[in-house]
C-alpha cells in the first residue's frame, strides 16, 4: 500500500490541507503547531476510525463551523487506486472509491460500513469489522496500526503488545508477508529448481507426467521395446531349445529302438544257436551210438588177442622152463663128463705138479699184491700223466696196464681153476694151481721186469712233465708277447716302413734342396733387398716360406736357375706335406697304437712276435698231441677199472682157496690185503686227480691255455705226492718180494694138502660118473615134453597172427577216442528245451523293433530338418543381445525412476524444511533487526531475541541479558523504530514516524538518517518533524520528499484568527 494524497478539511486546527506523498521517504516539516501531528491524526482517522464513532468529536474544529473531512488516496500492490473519504460530525459518512485511471476519476465502491469493510480487506491489518458487537468504538488499534501509524507518544508500545494470536487475518497477513520477505532468495531459487526438476516427472497433483516428452514415457517405451524384443528372442530361443530337446528325445528314442532291435536280433540269434545246438546234439548222439558199437566190436577182438597172447606167453614160459631144464641137464651132463675127464687128467698129473703147485699158489698171491702195487703205480702214473699231460708215459702205462690185464686174465683163469679144484676136486685144483703157480712165477718175473721199466717210464714221465710245465710257461710268455703286440701284421710294418722311408726321403730332399737354395740365394743376395734377416738366419719352415716369398719377388735378379730351385723346393715341400699327412694318417697311428717311437722298434716287435707265434704253434701242436693222448688214457683207464673189478673178484676167489692156502699166515695175508686196499684207495684218488688234470688240460687246449701258468703250478703240487707215493710203492714192492720168499718156504706144507685133495678128487670122479648117467636120462624125457609144447605154440601163434591182423584193422584206439570225443561233445551240449512258438515270437518282435527304429529315424530326420530351418545358434546370440539391451533399458528406467522419485522426495523435503523455517519467523526477523541494531550501536548489543508475536524479548549487552524496558529511552525508542521500520519494509506498507527520534544523539540520528534514506527505497516513510535537518542529509535531499507543512496546510487560525484569539 502506498499513500498518495491526503486531503483534510475542517479537521481540528486545520482548515484545509492537501498533501501529496511520494513513494519513498517523505519528510513533513514545519514549526511547532504547524499542523503536523494533526495531519498524522487525520491520516489515522481516515484509516482507523469509523465516521460515526463518538471519538470523532475530537476531530471537530475548535474554531469555526464545519464538519471534519478527511480523504486519503492510496494505491494497492495490484496498481489499483482507492480513495477513502470520511466526514465526521453531524452527518458522518464514509465512502470508498476506486480509480481505474490512476486518479483521474474515481468510482465509488462502497459507502458506510461497506466502505470500511472493503478498506479492511485491502489493508489486512486485523481491524475488526465495523459495527456490531465487539466492534471498536474509537480508533482501531492493532499490532500493525501501532507499528505503522503510532502516535508520537506511542513510539515503543510495540514492545508491550505483540501480534495478537486471535487476529487470524492480521497474523496470516503478517506471517505471509514476513515469510515471503524473510525467505532467502537462494532458497526460493532452490525451491524453483527442485520444482522444475520435479515437474519433469510429476504433475502438480503428484501424478506422473505423460506424453511424448515425459521421461517416464520415454523410459517406459524403451523398456517396453526392449521387453518386446526380449520376449520375441526368448520365444525363438525356446522354440529352438524345444526343437533341440525334441531332436535329442527322438535321437534317444532312435538309439533306444536300435538297442531294442539289436536285443531282439540277439535273442533271435540265441534262439538259432539253441536250435542248432539241439540239432547238433542229436547228431552227436547218433555218432556216439555208432562209435560205441565200433568200440565194442574192437574191444571184443582185443580181448581175443589178449587171451591168445596170454596163452602163448604161458606156453613160451613153459617151453623156456623146459628148455632151461634141458640146458641144465645138458650142461650137467657135459660138466659131469668134463669133470670126469679133468679129474682123470688131474689125477694123472697131480703127482708131478704138486711141487710147484704150492709155489704157484704163493706166486699168485704175490701177484695179487703186485697187481695192487701196479694199480698203485698206475694211479701214480695216471696222476703224473694227468698232471703233466704226458702222452708218452700214458701210452706206456696203457701198455703196461694191458699187459697187467693179460696177466690178470691169466691169474683169473688160474684162480678159476683153483676155485674149481677147491670146490669139486681138491686134487685137480692143486694140480691146476701148481701149473698156474708156475706160469705165475714166470709172469711175476716178467712183471717185475715190466715194473722196472714202468718205473723208468715214470721217471721219464716226470721229466716229460717238467718239460711240459716248462713248455706251458714258455707258451704263456709267448702268448703274452703276442697279445702285447696285438694284430701287428707284416703288411702294416711294410706300409709304415714305406711311408716312413718316403717321408724321410722327402725331408732329406727338401733339406738338400733348401740348403742349395739358401746357398744360391745368399750368393745372389748382392743388390737384393732382404727384409727379414731372421728368416734367413733361422731357416725354420716358416722362415723358409717367407724367404721363398721374398725371393719370388726378386726373380729378375735371381734368374731362371733360382726360379727352378724355388719351384722344385715348393713341389718337394708340397709332396712332403702330403707325405706327412699320409704318415700321420696311416704310419704315425700304427706307431702310437703299439707304443713305439720308431719304425726300427716296430720292426723288432714284429720279428719277436712272429717268432713267438711260431713257437706258440709248436707248443699248440704238442698240446694237441697231449690231448689225443689224454683221450687214449681215458679208454685205458676204463680198461684198468675193469681190471680192478676182476682183480677184486680174483681176490675174493683167493679166499675160497682150500685150506692148503691157509698155510700162509693169515695175519700176514690180511695185512698185505689191507695195505693193498689202502693202495687201491690212494690209486683211486690219484686217478680222480688225474681225470681232473686231464679235464683241465683239455680245457686249456680248447681255450688256448690261457691259464697255463696256474695249471703248471697245480702240476707241481700234484707231482710231489705222486713221487712220494712212488717211493712208497718201491718200498712196498721190496717187502712183497720178501713175503714171496717166505711163501716158498711153505711149499712142503702145500704138497701135503695137495695129496689130500687128490683123494677127494678120486671120490668126486666116481660121483661125477653117476651124475652123468642121471643127466642123460633126464635130457631124453625133457626133449619129448618140449616137442609137445612146440606144436601147441605154433598153432596158437598162427591164431594170434590172424587175430592181431584183424585187430590192427579195427583201430581200437581211434574208435575209443571217437567214442570219448562224442561223449564229451554230448556232455558239452546239455539237452535244451525249445518252445515251438518262440521263433515266430522272436521274428515278430524283430519286425516290431525294426518298425520302431524306422519311426524314430523319421522323427530324428524331421527334428533335424526343423532345426536346420530354425534360427539355430543365432537365436541364442540374439537372445543374449536382447537380454543385454533389456538390462540397459531397465537400468535406464530404474535410473529415471530413481531420479523422478528423488526429485519428488527432495521437493517434499524442501517444503518441510521451509515449513519448519516459517514457524520461527520471529527469530528470523529478530536477526534482521539485530543486524541493524548492532550496526547502530556499534555492536554494543547482540543476541536480540524476538518471539513469535514479534515482541522483542531480550538483548545481550556483554554478558548481561536485558529486556527492552531496561534499555535507555533513546536506545529503546531506536530499537522500537528499527523493528517497526523493518516490519513496514517487509509488509510493504507506509510507516509514519511522528518526530520519534527526538531522544537520539546526533551520531545515531545521523545513522538513522542514512537508514531511512535506504529504507525509503523499499517502503514509504512519512516523517513528521519540527527539525527537518535531523532527517535531511547535509549533502542534499537524500532522495526524500520534503514537504513544508506550513505551505500545504491552512490552519483555521488563519481563517478565523479571532477565534484563536
Amino acid at each position: 500500500v502506498k499513500f498518495l494524497r491526503l486531503s483534510v478539511k475542517c479537521f481540528r486546527g486545520i482548515a484545509e490541507a492537501h498533501i501529496d506523498f511520494e513513494p519513498g521517504l517523505n519528510i513533513l516539516f514545519g514549526p511547532n503547531e504547524a499542523g503536523k501531528s494533526t495531519l498524522a491524526e487525520a491520516l489515522r482517522a481516515a484509516l482507523l476510525c469509523r465516521s460515526q464513532s463518538s471519538v470523532a468529536e475530537a476531530y471537530l474544529p475548535a474554531i469555526g463551523p464545519g464538519s471534519p473531512e478527511v480523504s486519503l488516496t492510496f494505491s494497492q500492490p495490484d496498481g489499483e487506486w482507492y480513495r477513502i473519504g470520511k466526514t465526521f460530525g453531524d452527518r458522518p459518512s464514509t465512502s470508498l472509491e476506486r480509480s481505474p485511471n490512476q486518479g483521474q476519476t474515481f468510482v465509488r465502491e462502497a459507502n458506510g460500513d461497506g466502505a470500511e469493510t472493503e478498506l479492511r480487506k485491502r489493508l489486512r491489518w486485523g481491524l475488526r469489522a465495523p459495527g456490531g458487537r465487539g466492534a471498536t468504538r474509537g480508533v482501531e488499534s492493532t499490532f500493525l496500526t501501532r507499528t505503522l501509524l503510532a502516535e508520537q507518544t506511542e513510539v515503543d508500545t510495540i514492545f508491550q503488545q505483540g501480534l495478537e494470536p486471535e487476529s487470524t487475518e492480521q497474523a496470516t497477513f503478517v506471517q505471509e508477508a514476513l515469510a515471503a520477505a524473510l525467505e532467502d532468495p537462494r532458497f526460493k531459487r532452490a525451491l524453483t529448481l527442485a520444482h522444475q526438476h520435479f515437474k519433469r516427472y510429476f504433475t502438480s497433483n503428484g501424478n506422473k507426467t505423460r506424453g511424448a516428452n515425459s521421461p517416464w514415457t520415454r523410459a517406459k517405451d524403451q523398456l517396453n521395446e526392449a521387453q518386446t524384443e526380449l520376449d520375441a528372442a526368448r520365444r525363438v530361443a525356446e522354440e529352438v531349445a524345444a526343437l533341440q530337446r525334441t531332436l535329442l528325445l527322438a535321437q534317444d528314442e532312435a538309439a533306444e529302438a536300435a538297442q531294442m532291435l539289436e536285443a531282439a536280433k540277439a535273442e533271435r540269434r540265441t534262439l538259432d544257436k539253441t536250435l542248432q545246438a539241439a540239432e547238433h546234439r542229436k547228431l552227436l548222439i547218433q555218432e556216439l551210438e555208432v562209435a560205441r558199437a565200433d568200440m565194442d566190436h574192437a574191444l571184443t577182438a582185443q580181448h581175443a588177442v589178449d587171451s591168445l597172447r596170454v596163452r602163448i606167453n604161458e606156453l613160451k614160459q613153459t617151453l623156456e622152463a623146459k628148455t632151461a631144464e634141458v640146458d641144465t641137464a645138458t650142461t650137467t651132463h657135459r660138466t659131469a663128463r668134463e669133470q670126469r675127464e679133468v679129474a682123470q687128467t688131474m689125477l694123472q698129473c697131480i703127482e708131478s705138479a704138486d711141487g710147484n703147485a704150492q709155489r704157484e699158489l704163493e706166486v699168485a698171491r704175490v701177484e695179487f699184491q703186485l697187481t695192487a702195487l701196479r694199480h698203485e703205480l698206475d694211479e701214480l702214473n695216471r696222476r703224473m700223466a694227468d698232471a703233466n699231460a704226458l702222452a708218452i708215459e700214458e701210452r706206456k702205462l696203457g701198455e703196461l696196464r694191458a699187459r697187467i690185464e693179460a696177466e690178470k686174465v691169466a691169474l683169473t683163469e688160474s684162480r678159476d681153476l683153483e676155485a674149481k679144484a677147491s670146490s669139486q676136486i681138491a686134487r685137480l685144483r692143486l694140480e691146476r694151481t701148481a701149473a698156474l703157480v708156475r706160469d705165475a712165477d714166470s709172469r711175476l718175473h716178467t712183471a717185475v721186469d715190466r715194473f722196472s721199466s714202468a718205473a723208468e717210464g715214470v721217471q721219464a714221465a716226470q721229466a716229460a712233465a717238467e718239460q711240459a710245465e716248462a713248455k706251458g710257461v714258455e707258451e704263456l710268455e709267448l702268448r703274452s708277447r703276442v697279445l702285447t703286440y696285438g694284430d701287428l701284421s707284416a703288411d702294416q710294418i711294410d706300409l709304415v716302413q714305406r711311408l716312413f722311408h718316403d717321408l724321410d726321403k722327402r725331408r732329406s730332399a727338401i733339406e738338400a734342396g733348401l740348403s742349395v737354395t739358401l746357398e744360391r740365394l745368399q750368393t745372389l743376395e748382392v743388390g737384393a733387398r732382404i727384409d727379414d734377416q731372421t728368416a734367413i738366419h733361422h731357416p725354420s719352415s716358416t722362415g723358409r716360406v717367407q724367404v721363398e716369398a721374398k725371393r719370388r719377388v726378386e726373380l729378375d735378379l735371381g734368374g731362371l736357375a733360382k726360379l727352378q730351385i724355388t719351384a722344385g723346393s715348393s713341389t718337394a715341400r708340397a709332396e712332403l706335406a702330403a707325405a706327412e699327412v699320409v704318415w700321420a694318417q696311416n704310419g704315425q697311428i700304427v706307431l702310437q697304437q703299439h707304443g713305439v717311437d720308431s719304425v726300427e722298434a716296430l720292426q723288432r716287435r714284429l720279428r719277436e712276435r712272429m717268432e713267438a707265434e711260431r713257437q706258440l704253434q709248436d707248443i699248440r701242436r704238442e698240446c694237441g698231441d697231449l690231448s689225443a693222448r689224454a683221450q687214449r688214457l681215458t679208454s685205458a683207464q676204463e680198461a684198468l677199472a675193469q681190471a680192478q673189478i676182476e682183480a677184486k673178484e680174483a681176490e675174493a676167489a683167493r679166499f675160497e682157496l682150500p685150506p692148503c692156502a691157509d698155510a700162509i699166515p693169515a695175519a700176514s695175508v690180511r695185512e698185505i690185503e689191507a695195505q693193498l686196499i689202502e693202495l687201491q684207495d690212494k690209486a683211486r684218488k690219484a686217478e680222480l686227480a688225474g681225470i681232473a688234470v686231464e679235464a683241465t688240460l683239455r680245457q686249456l687246449g680248447e681255450s688256448e691255455r690261457d691259464k697255463a701258468t696256474q695249471i703248471a703250478e697245480q702240476q707241481r703240487v700234484l707231482r710231489e705226492p705222486g713221487l712220494e707215493l712212488l717211493t712208497r710203492g718201491h718200498a712196498r714192492l721190496a717187502a712183497i718180494e720178501e713175503e714171496a720168499k717166505s711163501l716158498t718156504i711153505t711149499r712142503g706144507e702145500l704138497k701135503e694138502g695137495l695129496q689130500k685133495a687128490l683123494r677127494a678128487a678120486q671120490e668126486a670122479a666116481s660121483k661125477a660118473k653117476e651124475a652123468l648117467d642121471a643127466a642123460e636120462r633126464r635130457q631124453q624125457s625133457l626133449g619129448e615134453e618140449r616137442l609137445g609144447i612146440d606144436r601147441e605154440l605154433e598153432m596158437n601163434r598162427g591164431r594170434l597172427t590172424s587175430e592181431a591182423e584183424h585187430l590192427a584193422s579195427l583201430d581200437i584206439e581211434g574208435r575209443t577216442q571217437c567214442f570219448t570225443n562224442c561223449q564229451a561233445k554230448i556232455d558239452a551240449h546239455p539237452p535244451v528245451v525249445i518252445d515251438p512258438g518262440a521263433v515266430e515270437v522272436a521274428d515278430a518282435r524283430i519286425y516290431e523293433r525294426e518298425r520302431q527304429v524306422e519311426e524314430a529315424k523319421r522323427r530324428v530326420i524331421s527334428g533335424e530338418s526343423r532345426i536346420a530351418s530354425s534360427e539355430g545358434a543365432i537365436a541364442q546370440e540374439r537372445l543374449e543381445e536382447a537380454e543385454s539391451a533389456y538390462e540397459v533399458a531397465n537400468a535406464d528406467y530404474e535410473a529415471n525412476r530413481t531420479d523422478g522419485e528423488a526429485s519428488k522426495l527432495l521437493l517434499e523435503t524442501l517444503k518441510e524444511a521451509e515449513a519448519s523455517s516459517t514457524r520461527h519467523v520471529g527469530t528470523a526477523i529478530g536477526g534482521k533487526v539485530q543486524a541493524r541494531f548492532a550496526e547502530l550501536t556499534r555492536h554494543r548489543y547482540r543476541g536480540l531475541s524476538v518471539d513469535k508475536a514479534l515482541v522483542a524479548q531480550k538483548v545481550q549487552l556483554g554478558e548481561a541479558v536485558l529486556g527492552p524496558g531496561q534499555l535507555s529511552v533513546g536506545t529503546r525508542h531506536q530499537l522500537a523504530i528499527l523493528l517497526r521500520l523493518i516490519l513496514a519494509e517487509q509488509l510493504g506498507h507506509p510507516i509514519v514516524l511522528d518526530d520519534q527520534l527526538v531522544q537520539s544523539d546526533p551520531e545515531r540520528l545521523e545513522w538513522f538518517r542514512e537508514q531511512l534514506a535506504e529504507s525509503g527505497s523499499r517502503t514509504q516513510i512519512i516523517v513528521l518533524s519540527c527539525r527537518p535537518a535531523d532527517y535531511r542529509s547535509p549533502h542534499g535531499s537524500n532522495g526524500a520528499n520534503l514537504i513544508d507543512v506550513s505551505t500545504h496546510v491552512k490552519l483555521r487560525l488563519e481563517r478565523y484568527p479571532h477565534d484563536a484569539a
Binding site: D184, R186, F187, R189, A190, L193, A194, H197, R218, A226, E229, V240, Q244, E864, I867, A868, S869, S870, E871, G872, A873, I874, Q876, R878, E881, A882, S884, A885, E887, V888, A891, A895, T898, D899, E901, A902, S903, L905, L906, T909, L910, E912, A913, E914, S916, S917
Partner: protein, 384 residues
C-alpha cells in the same frame, strides 16, 4: 593377367563375418547407427586393401549380413560401397549361417540385390560353385543353406583328384569348436579337413583371426570379423592377406588390421580416474564402463555430470563412439553439511531430513542418495 606383375605368387584377400545391419541393441539409437556405420567403414577399408595389394581375389567367407533378409536400405548401401570400390579382381560372397541361402534370402538370384551387384561380384549360390583364378588356381565353395546344420561344410567340397597339381582354395563357413554344451553348428572336422587337398582353406564364423593348421599343413584360416561385434572378441578386426606360391603351392596368411573401433572395458572408482579416462580421445572407442566406489555428494554430482558428458543425450553423441555404463557407485553423505555450509539453512535442514528418511518405509535408499545429490547440485547452482 597377374596383377602383381610377379610370376611366383597368387594373392588372396580373405575376410568374413561383416555382419552388416547388426543390431547393437544394447546401445542408444544414435550409437547403434554409429556402430553400424563403422562396419561399412571396415568394408571400405577391405576393398581399399584389395586395391592396394592388387590381390587376385577377395573371398568373403559368410555372414556378410546379420540376417538373410536385410532391409533394402542396407543392401543398397552395400551395393553403393561395392560400386564405388570397383575392384579389378573378383569378389566372392559366401552365404553364412546368419544369412543363409534360403527362400526369400538376399542371396537368391531373383532378389534385386543380386541383380544390382557389379559383375565382378560372385555369389556362391550353387552347390558345385567353383571360380577359376589366375595361375590355374580354383576356388571351391558351397552355399550355407540353413542356420543350423550338423553337416561338415568342408567335407561337402570336392576332394583333390590324383595327379591334380593345381592350386585349390576352399571357402566354407562353419564352426570347428563345440561351444558350451551345444554341438558345433555346421561343424568342421579339423582332422579330416586336410584330406580334401586344399592349398588354402578360407573359413568364416569365428570372429578372431586364427590359423588352425599345423606348420606342416596347408593353412586353415579364420580371418575373423573386420570390426568387432561385441566385447572380448580376441583377434577381431583383421582380414587375411594370403600369398600362395605358384610352384610349391605353399600358402601363407598374414593378418592385416582394418578395424576403426577399439572396444574397451574400464572400471573406475575415483573421480580422478574418471576425469583421466574422459581426457582421452574416445571418439573411436566403444566403452564398457563400470563406476564403482563411494563418492561424496559433490564428487557424486561431478561423476553424474561427467557421465552425462560421456553419454551425450538422445540427439547428441557422447564423448565415446558408444558407451554402456554400469553405475554401481554409492553416495557418501558424511560431509554433506560441510558442503552445504554456505547454503541456505533450509537446504541444510532438507539434507538432514533426507538423511533421516533413509531406511523409512516407502523410501528407497537410492532415492535418498539421488535426492541428496540433486540437493547438492541445487545448492551449487543457487550459490553461484
Amino acid at each position: 593377367m597377374n596383377p602383381t606383375g610377379g610370376d611366383d605368387v597368387l594373392k588372396i584377400l580373405h575376410t568374413s563375418d561383416w555382419h552388416l545391419g547388426l543390431g547393437f541393441r544394447k546401445y542408444r539409437p544414435i550409437e547403434r547407427e554409429s556402430l553400424r556405420a563403422a562396419r561399412f567403414n571396415a568394408v571400405d577399408n577391405i576393398l581399399g586393401l584389395a586395391r592396394q595389394h592388387s590381390v587376385h581375389a577377395v573371398l568373403v567367407a559368410g555372414d556378410v549380413f546379420d540376417d538373410e533378409k536385410p532391409s533394402e536400405l542396407l543392401w543398397r548401401r552395400l551395393v553403393g560401397h561395392l560400386e564405388r570400390a570397383s575392384l579389378a579382381c573378383p569378389l566372392v560372397f559366401l552365404p553364412g549361417n546368419h544369412d543363409p541361402l534360403m527362400q526369400g534370402s538376399v542371396w537368391e538370384r531373383s532378389h534385386p540385390f543380386c541383380a544390382a551387384l557389379p559383375a565382378w561380384v560372385h555369389v556362391v549360390d550353387r552347390d558345385d560353385f567353383r571360380l577359376d583364378l589366375p595361375e590355374g588356381a580354383t576356388v571351391f565353395s558351397r552355399p550355407t543353406r540353413t542356420r543350423k546344420s550338423s553337416i561338415d561344410p568342408v567335407q561337402a567340397l570336392p576332394p583333390r583328384q590324383a595327379g591334380d597339381e593345381t592350386i585349390r582354395i576352399g571357402l566354407a563357413h562353419g564352426q570347428t569348436l563345440q561351444i558350451g554344451d551345444q554341438a558345433a553348428n555346421h561343424p568342421i572336422d579339423l582332422s579330416r579337413a586336410p584330406q580334401r587337398g586344399f592349398d588354402y582353406l578360407a573359413l568364416g564364423d569365428t570372429h578372431g583371426f586364427r590359423n588352425l593348421a599345423s606348420d606342416d599343413q596347408s593353412p586353415i584360416v579364420y580371418s575373423g570379423t573386420p570390426e568387432q561385434t561385441k566385447k572380448d572378441e580376441e583377434g577381431a578386426g583383421h582380414v587375411a592377406l594370403v600369398h600362395i606360391r605358384r610352384r610349391s603351392r605353399r600358402a601363407k596368411a598374414n593378418p592385416l588390421e582394418v578395424r576403426s573401433l577399439t572396444w574397451r572395458s574400464e572400471t573406475v572408482t575415483s573421480l580422478h580416474a574418471l576425469r583421466a579416462l574422459l581426457s582421452e580421445d574416445l571418439g573411436q572407442t566403444v566403452l564398457d564402463l563400470t563406476i564403482d566406489g563411494a563418492f561424496d555428494p559433490e564428487a557424486h554430482q561431478q561423476v553424474e555430470r561427467l557421465l552425462q558428458d560421456l553419454r551425450g543425450d538422445e540427439h547428441t553423441p557422447g564423448r565415446a563412439r558408444a558407451v554402456s555404463i554400469d553405475a554401481r557407485h554409492r553416495l557418501d553423505d558424511t560431509d554433506i553439511d560441510t558442503l552445504l555450509r554456505e547454503a541456505p539453512d533450509e537446504l541444510r535442514t532438507a539434507a538432514r531430513l533426507l538423511r533421516e528418511k533413509r531406511g523409512t518405509t516407502g523410501v528407497e535408499e537410492a532415492w535418498v542418495d539421488r535426492a541428496l545429490t540433486q540437493l547438492v547440485d541445487i545448492a551449487r547452482q543457487v550459490q553461484q
